[in-house]
Amino acid sequence: MAEIVLIKGNEAAGKAAIMAGCTHYYGYPITPQNEIPEYMSLHLPEAGGTFIQAESETSSINMMFGSAAAGMRTMTSTSGPGYSLMLEGLSHFAAAELPCVLVLVSRGGPGGGSLESTQLDYFSVTKGGAHGGYRNIVLAPMDVQEFFDHTQMAFDLADKYRMVAVVLTEATLGNMAKPIEIKRVHAVPSEELPAKDWVMRGKAGKKKKLIVGGAAPGFGSFNDLNELNRHLADKYRTVALNETRYEAIEIEEADVVVVAFGITAGGVKQSLIQLNQEGYRAGMIRPITLFPFPTEIIRKTSERVKKFLVVEGNMGQMVEDVQFAVGDKAEVSFLGKAEGLISLEEIYSAIRSLCEKG
């Protein structure tokens, strides 16, 4: 039997990264994710890896650029303002098609914000964030087990598509503890991962290799930015085709379908147990990947279900993607809060009143 341990989300992410073969971690302290660098500083060197506390998040992401170019599995973790400092670097990762894993433990914002749980970074993470119209693969764990599993999966997805894979969570999931099963999981079986034949580890008498963050005739694979961007768009379409993940709960008979992600979806799941026991016909579609977004299942469901409710820890971000998927086929309501978790009572009441509405 697999080992079961009571562990904090942040520590689980650190443990998962080392199990997934992360060898290079760079980071700068910021609450509420400090247990990740703390864990990595202790355990990554033990595992033969390199931990560096950089002088800022700008440095962390650029140190990662070097490790990624050399083919290492590399990770950082941050929150709020730290993430903003990394954005320029992330755009360069996209341009150079380098893989890395970023664990983003959201806090309040904008600006300095607060240390409370929020889901305010949805737009920035799923739509690109920095300049240049790129995409990240985004996984949104609902509980500590998924935080542990998704962190491992993120390394596979990053390597397979040569993209930045973000594990997006928030203060509560980072700090709470719940028993989890310690097991190795893969998004892509190791033997199916493409060989990293592009890595730079010195010429050693072989043909010169370049990692080019952009496009120019004679350098790298693309003659101009149209070629590069066409290639990236094709890649993002392939990712959407292959990697869209979601969980659907009780949607077949539902009058109301809730769409929620991350810890908020946990609140919905808890509320649905009571509502279903009381005879209310409500279900949930929970995006597990936020990019790619499970547009198709929401669109299909809206052909029958006429009432949708989006619950998020912000003032309305994912709701735009749900509205897009639904079009004019159903009504989309919204429940949001931008600081602190939404209470079970609020979630329960919002779903119930929508069920009761004619």
């Binding site: 609450t31 609902m142 719940k178």
Partner: protein, 183 residues
């Protein structure tokens, strides 16, 4: 079975460890558990609290706005949580640090002079363990042995000489609760 509790006090009083020990003890007894510590940016002396849920069913959400039970280590925590506790809930008050009584009559408030009891056992540092012992006795949610097993996992081995002291603290809290709850 489903039980939730919030432990609240100053940073440094051990309210987080209290929650962690209870959650781990619940896990060792085969229950589903969540442990949610909140200490924000505070330092020693600031406020801290932790929420624990223990249940036979799966737990999908760790956040409880209105706890069923509370263990308050200081006066600000009493002020904050007394109004929120569910009717019929247990409110354990560290009367060594709180100089007033609970106002509500629809909850079971019990006063535990935890600092004095801890001193009697031999160390003021086990205030939280005394209160945990009282809470375990009040609810029967976990056994003393499970809390002790949990302590063994959390305490580094070089501190295992403190285990007997902690067992005494648990038993002291439990005994005090049993002697004073019925009145």
């Amino acid at each position: 079975m489903k039980l939730d509790v919030i432990f609240s006090g100053f940073g440094g009083q051990g309210v987080l460890v209290c929650g962690q020990l209870l959650a781990q003890a619940g896990m060792l007894e085969g229950k589903n558990v969540t442990y949610l510590p909140v200490y924000g940016s505070e330092v020693r002396g600031g406020t801290a609290h932790s929420t624990v849920i223990i249940s036979d069913e799966k737990i999908h959400y760790p956040y409880i706005e209105r706890p069923s039970n509370a263990v308050v280590f200081n006066l600000p925590s009493l002020t904050r949580y007394e109004p929120l506790i569910a009717s019929g809930g247990i409110l354990l008050i560290n009367s060594s640090m709180v100089n007033r009584n609970a106002e509500r009559e629809d909850i079971n408030a019990v006063y535990i002079p935890a600092n004095s009891l801890a001193t009697e056992v031999g160390s003021e540092q086990v205030v939280n363990i005394v209160l945990l012992g009282a809470f375990a006795a009040a609810t029967g949610v976990v056994t003393t042995d499970s809390v002790m097993d949990s302590l063994k996992m959390i305490l580094p081995e070089r501190r295992h000489n403190l285990l007997p002291l902690n067992r005494e603290a648990i038993e002291k809290g439990a005994a005090f609760y049993k002697d004073n709850a019925a009145s």
